[in-house]
Symmetry: C2
Subunit: 338 residues, 2 copies
């Protein structure tokens, strides 16, 4: 593969000149530009970005760490990042943490070795264990999806509390009061915020909160746990009329459990879910959801990161952006005329 020396020889100029015409700088004689262009064309010269990166101390690479790229929640985020980054000439390298901070840490080391210009990271639980590593970094970082209380840096997330409030208020407005919330582990800030939103909405409507109506999975995606909880709650005598599912995955499991019990939605139980999914509008009945702006989240995170990369990591104050979710009213919530 031809290098800059080959081009220089072909065009009968110095490598400096080649470099200058390729980067479009300096005062160049138009004839020289033409000569070099011809040589580039003839030799099919592709400037070596790794040499350039070494010289410039900038790779035009941005690193992304998500829990799982095959999760339909994360993939639009990555797409948003890629689009925003691509427009500015950056390429995106992606890794999966599987919610495992050690795995995330290893991947971060690799990214650092590769000298990515910046990192977008979706914090896992035990995220604080990575904070030293990130703190000592001279490259900008932006957090997505979840925030960290201890580590201060730009963050783009959904307004989870508001989203939950929107969902629960919708149920309240439809006449429900016996509203049950299914949540993932509260060690995860998103879930915690959603439960806070649930509480806030209930409080605002002065509806007493029963502890047994707040069910918290100890782990993500624990189908067994959810099945048991749904069965327990829906066979009791004071059974809820509505369920707020704290995530798309939880909604899926709740739905399956409810189907297994042959309970009709929304006649016997109304369901509203956090997270908009591809199938929400497809199932029967179409599922009412509070959707997160995932693409926007990625896009915004990338924009902020690129600003930092351009203007140095020091300036400005730290930004914490909360995207407002949107309520998609469909047919899984029925009006309760009490």
């Amino acid at each position: 593969m031809a290098n800059i020396y080959d081009v220089a020889r072909e065009a009968d100029v110095s490598i400096a000149t080649v470099s200058y015409v390729i980067n479009g700088k300096h005062n160049l004689n138009p004839e020289t530009v033409e000569k070099v262009a011809r040589a580039v064309e003839k030799l099919n010269y592709k400037p070596n970005r790794v040499a350039r990166s070494l010289a410039l101390n900038a790779t035009n690479l941005i690193g992304v760490v998500v829990s799982d790229i095959s999760n339909p929640f994360f993939s639009p985020i990555v797409r948003g990042i890629e689009d925003a980054a691509g427009r500015k000439g950056y390429i995106v390298v992606v890794g999966n943490s599987d919610e495992d901070w050690e795995k995330a840490g290893k991947y971060l080391d690799t990214l650092i070795n590769h000298r990515v210009d910046g990192i977008i990271l979706s914090p896992t639980s035990s995220f604080e264990k990575l904070e030293n590593k990130l703190g000592g970094l001279d490259k900008p970082i932006v957090l997505i999806n979840r925030s960290s209380t201890s580590f201060k840096c730009d963050t783009v997330e959904s307004d989870n509390m508001l989203g939950a409030e929107m969902a629960v208020k919708h149920l309240l407005e439809m006449g429900h009061t016996r509203i049950c919330a299914f949540s993932g582990p509260l060690s995860v800030s998103t879930h915690l915020k959603r439960i806070e939103g649930y509480r806030a909405a209930m409080a605002e409507w002065s509806v007493p909160i029963r502890d047994e109506y707040i069910v918290t999975s100890p782990r993500h995606n624990d189908m067994e746990f959810i099945r048991k909880s749904v069965t327990g709650l829906m066979t009791g005598n004071k059974r809820p009329t509505a369920i707020f599912a704290g995530s798309g995955k939880i909604a899926l499991n709740v739905l399956k459990s409810v189907n297994e019990m042959n309970l009709r939605v929304p006649e016997e139980v109304s369901i509203i879910s956090f997270d908009e999914t591809e199938w929400a509008s497809l199932i029967n009945p179409p599922l009412t959801t509070v959707g997160q702006k995932t693409y926007k989240m990625g896009q915004t995170a990338a924009q902020i990161l690129l600003e930092r990369i351009d203007h140095g990591t020091t300036g400005n104050k730290i930004r914490n952006i909360r995207l407002v979710p949107e309520l998609n009213i469909r047919s899984s919530v029925r009006a309760l005329l009490s």
Copy 2:
């Protein structure tokens, strides 16, 4: 950020020695190793991969081009790639082509400039226009999802013809003969193969093929076209008893159209779909599908690519792997007792 000179100075050795201990080569005095290790630790030294890449002419980067990472079909593929690549110390950079060969071409140029060690590419239509660019490359390439007749290189795809045969035979076995096939543009090899499979299955069962039962969208995801076609077919007098949807997206649109017409599935029309989706088992009735092994596809592609990277791009013969799809029988196909 400390470099190899800093470490050498701190450990009071030459940079060559530092390099040797970091890469674990050569005859090293254990004491020296220890000394260097301490210096590395103390200075929090992170070897600069870009300098290493330049010296070694190998970046440990692999480039991936898919139509759309946020498409649930592609994201597990990318995950499979990432997992296989990560195990061997490679990182993955991903770009989206949006089925646009020019966009794919631009991204390929970027990848080449960055000197990725290999490329995994999902061909778009008009893929042949990229063949020069790819042909002149001295880096290995593997194609996924779709193959190219003209460009010869390793390919990992689903056995689309077989998958369609499996689907259509299932319908035939259930007693259907008036089977309609909905397909994407036949310029795309996957769709072409699936229609071939449809024809083969029909032929094998000696069921005459009616041309009007093969409906081909001119574009991907043309909801209007599908709605019209479904309406047309299902209001005629010789209406089909079953529909084979040539992709998950098509199934989604067919399903919506069928719902709009208030046709009951499977009582009035049976449906089977290519592609397994997250929602297939969730909808009512649960959708019978022929699922592709997407994760495996990515993983296999990466393994083949890495082999080529290790053993040089020249050796061996070209491999063309066809993954066998799997039939997921659910409830959207009813037995027709004629």
